[in-house]
Amino acid sequence: MTVLSTTVQPGFWAATGMIAAVVLCSTAGEVLTASAMKSIGDLDEIRARSGLKGAILAVVTCPRFYAGVGFLALAFFALLFALNHLNLGLVAPASASLTLVTNAVAAQLFLNEHVDRRRWTAAVLVCIGVYFLAH
């Protein structure tokens, strides 16, 4: 008796959900990590003042840094899950390029960064460029 295995491609909404999970976790990770580094201060100055050990200590004693790394790890596992169900040709360009746009939005909203027209143009250009490279 032969067992027929059929690969069932997820529907549109399931695929969108998987890619959205990667993008959201990755954005949360990047924003939390950036926020942690801003709260610590200029690492070059800390290293000049207290040496490499002091700079490492400043990073590893910041709880927000661990939250950021946790979300980046979640993004990695969400990517692995998505790759298990979807084609690499869809997941890689979609997640890489969308993350750039969501990061720009999140940086403006949560990090109060001044994302001017120049940075928006750059984010969109890089987003389309990554799509072309990865597709």
């Binding site: 200029d42 690492l43 750039l100 940086a107 994302v115 750059a122 890089v126």
Partner: protein, 149 residues
């Protein structure tokens, strides 16, 4: 928003951010493909893979990437640093065309052009959003209180 520009040393850190991630990934890929297939039944063989030269070099480069990325985020905006990480893709394309002599399609050249243009846009702007210093804002609020009295 004043035009805060990175110092030459900080540009070097951004360059390392752009270079180390694709080089690290390439080293990992080279190392893993040269190994015999690893079965899930023998996960410990993954541990021994870590000590092979290409994979060790890849891990060292990726640790260097994360350290320099964190350093860059401590003095530059996230929306300034991220395009630098995407520029690594351009370096990979250029290496594959001119070093490995691989064929690069016009879509990929278009991607290279768009990313380079995007990074150029950001690089010409300020690297950090200027915020009022806590002491300065406290002083200004103190002056405002004095004026109110």
């Amino acid at each position: 928003m004043s035009h805060i520009r990175p110092t030459p040393r900080q540009y070097l850190v951004l360059g390392f951010v752009a270079l180390s991630a694709p080089l690290g990934d390439s080293c990992l890929s080279r190392g893993m493909t040269s190994l015999p297939p690893i079965s899930l039944a023998h996960p410990l063989s993954l541990v021994s893979a870590v000590f092979t030269p290409w994979i060790a070099a890849g891990i060292a480069l990726l640790i260097g990437f994360f350290a320099s990325y964190l350093t860059a985020l401590s003095w530059a905006d996230l929306t300034y640093v991220l395009p630098a990480t995407a520029f690594g893709n351009v370096i990979v394309e250029l290496l594959s065309r001119f070093w490995l002599h691989e064929e690069v399609s016009w879509q990929r050249w278009l991607g290279v052009f768009l990313i380079t243009a995007g990074v150029g846009f950001v690089a010409h702007g300020p690297s950090l959003t200027e915020r009022p210093q806590p002491e300065a804002s406290a002083a200004s609020s103190g002056i405002a209180e004095e004026q109110l009295r």
